[in-house]
């Protein structure tokens, strides 16, 4: 048996198109354009690629993109000052501070300085608590993207056994919250879990978010399960030439796709969904800021 491949590229394009339609409608009916400010500190090459992609897709969806690039030696006070200006700017509905920040900065302090209503990454402590207490919040983009793919596959998730591997603040924990909200029975497995294979084999839905290349193999997977692979790992690929790399997930795709019912590939699975959800969150933040009804079905 061979698993259905969940095409994150195609699905994310659909989501972005829907966001684009809503943005056009907002402009036509109310003269409002959602705006996303992205702040990049330093020259981390991976971050530069992300920021460039985010900017491009923001503009393609018809939104305003504001990019702020600061030197690596910028003081924390100067960054907080910029965040305060963006908080006060009515043209900015979403603020994203690209992580990681340089070592001399306290990332928590910076994130918690963002107005929670503009925190489109959903990392502000108030948004974390609002999500945990079932209140209206900004939901972190990556787990939101995973949830949307799962809903697209299954419709109703209630009663399904979900296992989330990894307990990170940005994926594992919010993922568990979202799955609970959709009435899954949720287990969170992690580095201290005993017999993790056995735990994973109970899962109808398996979400892997640990950052360890190809850790989850086919024999960890219950036949027919849906596998969402959040990991993005660069591993050496000598077959492509000396010094070359390739991207792999936390799931060993070859063996897992023999057992699973559906599986996301890496790349082209969860990754593209993250930016699509960022755009959706910015749109939602804009609607809330203007007291307008939120478009249905774009976020969780």
């Amino acid at each position: 048996m061979s698993a259905k491949i969940i095409d994150g590229k195609a699905f994310s394009a659909e989501v972005r198109a829907r966001v684009g339609e809503q943005v056009a409608r907002l402009k036509a009916a109310h003269g409002i354009t959602p705006g996303l400010a992205v702040v990049l500190v330093g020259e981390d090459p991976a971050s530069q690629v992300y920021v460039r992609n985010k900017g491009k897709q923001t503009v393609e969806a018809g939104m305003e993109s504001f990019e702020h690039k600061l030197d690596a030696d910028t003081s924390e006070a100067a960054l907080l000052d910029l965040v305060a200006r963006l908080n006060a700017d009515p043209a900015v509905h979403g603020i994203l501070v690209q992580l990681p920040l340089p070592g001399h900065m306290n990332a928590d302090a910076v994130i918690n300085a963002i107005d929670p209503a503009k925190d489109v990454d959903g990392f502000h402590i108030s948004n974390v608590g609002l999500l945990a207490t079932g209140q209206k919040a900004m939901v972190p983009c990556t787990p939101l993207g995973c949830l949307m793919m799962l809903r697209d596959q299954h419709g109703d998730l209630s009663g399904m056994n979900a296992v989330v591997v990894g307990r990170s603040n940005i994926v594992g924990k919010p993922m568990a919250q979202l799955l609970l909200r959709d009435s899954c029975t949720v287990t969170i497995a992690h580095s201290r879990t005993r017999e993790i294979e056995t735990v994973c084999r109970q899962a109808d839905i398996l979400v892997a978010a640990v950052g360890r290349p190809e850790m989850v193999t086919g024999d960890w997977i219950r036949p027919g399960a849906t596998v969402i692979d959040v990991g993005i790992n660069r591993v050496p690929a000598p077959e492509k030439g000396e010094g070359k790399h390739r991207l792999v997930g936390d799931v060993h795709f070859e063996s897992a796709s023999q057992v699973a019912g559906a599986i996301t590939p890496v790349p082209g699975g969860v990754g593209p969904m993250t930016i699509a959800c960022l755009l959706a969150n910015t749109l939602i933040a804009c609607c809330r800021a203007n007291g307008l009804p939120e478009p249905e079905g774009l976020t969780a």
């Binding site: 402590i125 108030s126 948004n127 974390v128 608590g129 609002l130 945990a132 207490t133 079932g134 209140q135 209630s158 009663g159 056994n161 307990r167 603040n169 924990k173 568990a176 919250q177 609970l180 009435s183 899954c184 029975t185 949720v186 287990t187 969170i188 497995a189 992690h190 201290r192 879990t193 005993r194 017999e195 056995t198 735990v199």
Partner: protein, 305 residues
């Protein structure tokens, strides 16, 4: 999952009252130290409308606070008080340096949204651990002011000779103030946690695999002996009033007799989680006071001092 715990003939009943007494003694020492520094901790309790429903809680809290050297003032407001008026009251208490913690007694009248009121408490005075920022801190594994019942349940588990890291735990009930915070607290301590609820296909399948089971649903008799692995710990958070031929009784969510035959440890109801919850509230009061003291000193410190 395969490792079995030592099977006990009959479960040891966990004495919540003595755990609470030990915690209160530590709180009393801390409260005295704070008082010496000019920061005697003081709580204000707010009830709205029908007092009978929360009276017993208020009385228990007042008595425990008194025993631990924590100030306690109970305020009652009439049922017709509006949300705006209560928010004004909270503003005043938030700004008052002589008030270190605010308790909002439930139930509240139907026209008062409880979450809105909890959000209006300053996070540094949120001794009940109900503010979204407090819950967010729990999720992020910063264990400052946690929701009292959830913290109490976890504190009880910590008194048992079990290694929490790697422990398989099933939490039955996914309420925002008990079930979910318990799950996140235990996950932070390294347990593998499964959260079950009314949509779970087979709760027994999950609970039977667990080294420790927490139940917080509010249904008497929900957990029976055959749902428990021999030797496991059972922490019962439910409080239910039931009618028996001998009169009304308070029981938990577990069928105590059948569970005690199988479990290694079990909390009784009453006398288990309840008293520890009050002790955690008082511990939060001293913690909140210390945080406020530090914040005040930071705000007024000069660079040279």
């Amino acid at each position: 999952m395969v490792e079995t715990l030592i099977p006990a003939r009959r479960a040891a009943a966990i004495d919540g009252r003595s755990i609470a007494a030990r915690m209160r003694a530590a709180v009393a020492a801390e409260a005295a130290a704070l008082a010496d520094a000019g920061w005697a901790p003081r709580l204000v309790s707010i009830s709205v409308g029908d007092q009978a429903a929360s009276e017993i809680y208020v009385r228990n809290q007042a008595r425990a606070a008194d025993a631990a050297g924590v100030g306690f003032e109970a305020r009652h407001y009439p049922a017709g008080t509006t949300l705006e008026q209560l928010a004004d009251v909270l503003d005043g208490l938030n700004a008052d340096p002589r008030v270190n913690g605010i308790i909002i007694q439930r139930p509240l009248p139907a026209h008062i949204p409880v979450k809105a009121l909890q959000r209006a408490v300053h996070p540094l005075k949120d001794v009940e651990g109900m503010h979204p920022a407090s819950i967010g801190n729990i999720v992020y594994n910063d264990l400052a002011l946690g929701p009292c019942t959830a913290v109490a349940a976890v504190e009880i588990l910590k008194t048992l000779p079990l290694k929490i890291e790697g422990l398989d735990v099933t939490v039955i009930g996914h309420s925002e103030i008990v079930g979910k915070p318990i799950a996140f607290l235990l996950m932070g301590l390294g347990a593998t946690v499964t959260v079950c609820h009314h949509m779970t296909r087979s709760v027994a399948m999950h609970s039977r695999g667990a080294d420790a089971v927490f139940v917080a649903v509010g249904r008497a008799g929900l957990v029976t002996g055959e749902m428990i692995k021999p030797g496991a710990a059972l922490i019962d958070i439910g409080i239910n009033r039931i009618e028996t031929p001998g009169g009304a009784r308070t029981v938990g969510d577990a069928d105590f007799d059948s569970c005690a035959e199988v479990a290694g440890w079990i909390t009784p109801v009453p006398g288990g989680v309840g008293p520890v919850t009050v002790a955690v509230l008082l511990k939060n009061a001293t913690l909140a006071t210390r945080l406020q003291m530090a914040q005040t000193r930071d705000s007024f410190a000069t660079p040279e001092s």
